[in-house]
C-alpha cells in the first residue's frame, strides 16, 4: 500500500474502513455459501449432511453430542442427519464401551470416499489461486484472516471453545 505521508486526500474514517471490510467479508461469505451448496448438490449430500459427515470423518470417532456442539446444532438435529447418513451407508453408529450412553460415530469407507472425492471444492480452488500469490502476500493474508477470526469470534467466545465432552452450561439467551 503506497502511503502518502501527508494524507492530503480524505482518509476514510475508521468506521468506514470497518464497513468496507465487512462488505468484503460478506462477499467471501456469499461465495462460500453458494459454493457449498453447489458442492453439496454434486455429492448428493445436503450442506448439513456434508458438514456432519466431515465432522465425523475428520475425527473418525465422534459422538453426536460433540458434533452438535461443534456445529452448534441441537442433538436432535444431529440424530436426524446421522439417521440419513446411516441409511446412505456413509457412517456407522456403535455404542460406546466405556460409557454405554454414548454413541460413537464413524465414517464408513463409502463415507470417507465421499469426503475425499469432494475434498472441498472451495479449498481446492482457493488453494490453487492462493499458491499463485507471492509468499509475502500469503503470509499477510494468513495474518489478516486470523486477526479477523478473532475479531468476529470474540463475541462468541462461548460458542466454540469446547471440543469434546460438553461440560458447558450454555445458558440460552431469550
Amino acid at each position: 500500500m503506497a502511503s502518502d505521508p501527508r494524507f492530503s486526500y480524505v482518509s476514510p474514517m475508521s468506521s468506514e474502513i470497518a464497513s468496507l471490510t465487512l462488505r468484503a467479508l460478506r462477499r467471501v461469505l456469499r461465495a462460500t455459501e453458494i459454493g457449498s451448496r453447489r458442492l453439496a448438490s454434486t455429492t448428493g449430500l445436503t450442506p448439513s449432511q456434508w458438514l456432519v459427515l466431515r465432522e465425523i470423518g475428520s475425527r473418525d470417532a465422534a459422538t453426536p453430542g460433540a458434533v452438535a456442539n461443534t456445529l452448534q446444532f441441537s442433538q436432535a438435529t444431529i440424530t436426524a442427519i446421522v439417521d440419513r447418513l446411516e441409511e446412505l451407508g456413509l457412517v456407522q453408529r456403535r455404542r460406546g464401551d466405556r460409557d454405554k450412553r454414548q454413541v460413537i460415530l464413524s465414517a464408513l469407507p463409502a463415507g470417507q470416499v465421499a469426503l475425499v472425492d469432494s475434498p472441498d471444492l472451495l479449498q481446492t480452488n482457493f488453494t490453487e489461486r492462493f499458491a499463485q500469490l507471492p509468499l509475502w502476500e500469503q503470509s499477510m493474508l494468513l495474518a489478516a484472516a486470523e486477526r479477523l477470526s478473532v475479531l468476529m469470534d470474540a463475541q462468541h467466545i462461548d460458542a466454540a471453545p469446547l471440543l469434546d465432552s460438553g461440560a458447558i452450561d450454555r445458558s440460552e439467551p431469550a
Copy 2:
C-alpha cells in the same frame, strides 16, 4: 518433504499457509453464521426471512423474482417467505401497475424498524472491536478481505452472473 536445511525453523510451505488461511476463514464463516442465527432469534426472524426482508427493504420496491435471483432461491421459496413476512406485518404485496403479473414488495414501517433495530449484530460488534485497531491495521485488514473475496469469488464468476439481469427494470414512471 521439502526440508530445506538452510532454514532452521519450519517455514510453512505455500500450501500450508493456504490451508491455515482457510481454517482461519472458516472460523470467520462460522462466527458469522452463528451470529446471524443468533441475530435472527433476537429479532424473531429466521435467517432466510431476515435476508429477504433486508433485500426488500434495501430496494424498497422489489419483485419476488428479483429477490429470488439475488439470493439465489427459487421463486416458490420467496413466495413462502414473503407469506410469512406479510403475516408478520413486515412487508406488503401490491400488484404492479405497469405489469400486473408482477408483485411489488415493500417493507412496511414495522419491517423497516426490524431492520434498523438489528442493523446487523455482527456489524455492531465487529465495528466496535475494529475501531480499536490502529489505522494501519485496519487498512491492512480491508485490503486482505478484498483480496480474499476475489480469491474466492473467482471460482463463482459463473454463479452469479445474472445478479442484476432481473433486478433492473426500474423504468418506473413510463
